[in-house]
């Protein structure tokens, strides 16, 4: 996946496409995370608002998933791509995703 020999237009198109896919991937992960944390943490339906206990649990759930997910990404990048340049490119991609999440 080396884009250095594409012209400017194609490269922009490719970057735009990748951005779109990353956004889609992020939305998917977000939805999955909500389901996961809801299933694990919210089981008390005597109240109609989320209790502070449930809230704390959800926070821990999110934090844990994000951190472990980041760890898996790093390991994955290292294993899947032996070449250091490719690793750099992909780490940037993954980091951008993490930053996107924490800025929203």
């Amino acid at each position: 996946m080396d884009f250095s020999n594409l012209n400017d237009y194609d490269r922009k198109q490719m970057e735009h496409l990748i951005e779109e896919k990353q956004m889609k991937d992020f939305m998917r992960m977000y939805s999955n995370l909500v389901d996961r944390c809801f299933d694990n943490c919210v089981n008390d339906f005597s109240t109609k608002t989320v209790t502070s206990k449930e809230n704390a649990c959800v926070n821990r759930c999110v934090e844990k998933f994000m951190k472990l997910s980041e760890r898996a990404s790093a390991r994955f990048a290292g294993k899947y791509f032996q070449n250091i340049n490719i690793i750099k490119k992909y780490l940037v991609m993954f980091l951008r995703r993490i930053i996107l999440i924490f800025n929203s």
């Binding site: 759930c61 844990k64 951190k67 898996a72 899947y80």
Partner: protein, 96 residues
Amino acid sequence: MDNQMQMRMAEQEFELVTELLRKITNRCYQKCYDKTYESGDVTTRESLCMDKCVLKYFEVNKNINDRLQAASQAKIEQQKRVEEFQEKRRRKKYGS
């Protein structure tokens, strides 16, 4: 042609890689996370578990790939032998 094809291949590769990463992350998280949710911080145990899980997943992936390839290769060889045998028999019966 080259550019378009290249872009399509890159797109495919990106999809595959993203999908693979997503699968690995979810599966390994499911196997490794501490169900008690004591804290949001990750323990050393969980971190190491994630590391090993990712590597093992790749290994299993490779093993299965190798096995399937070997099986399909064996099948091709067997088919070849059958065809050679049938060809020999045909020659014997009817002459070349």
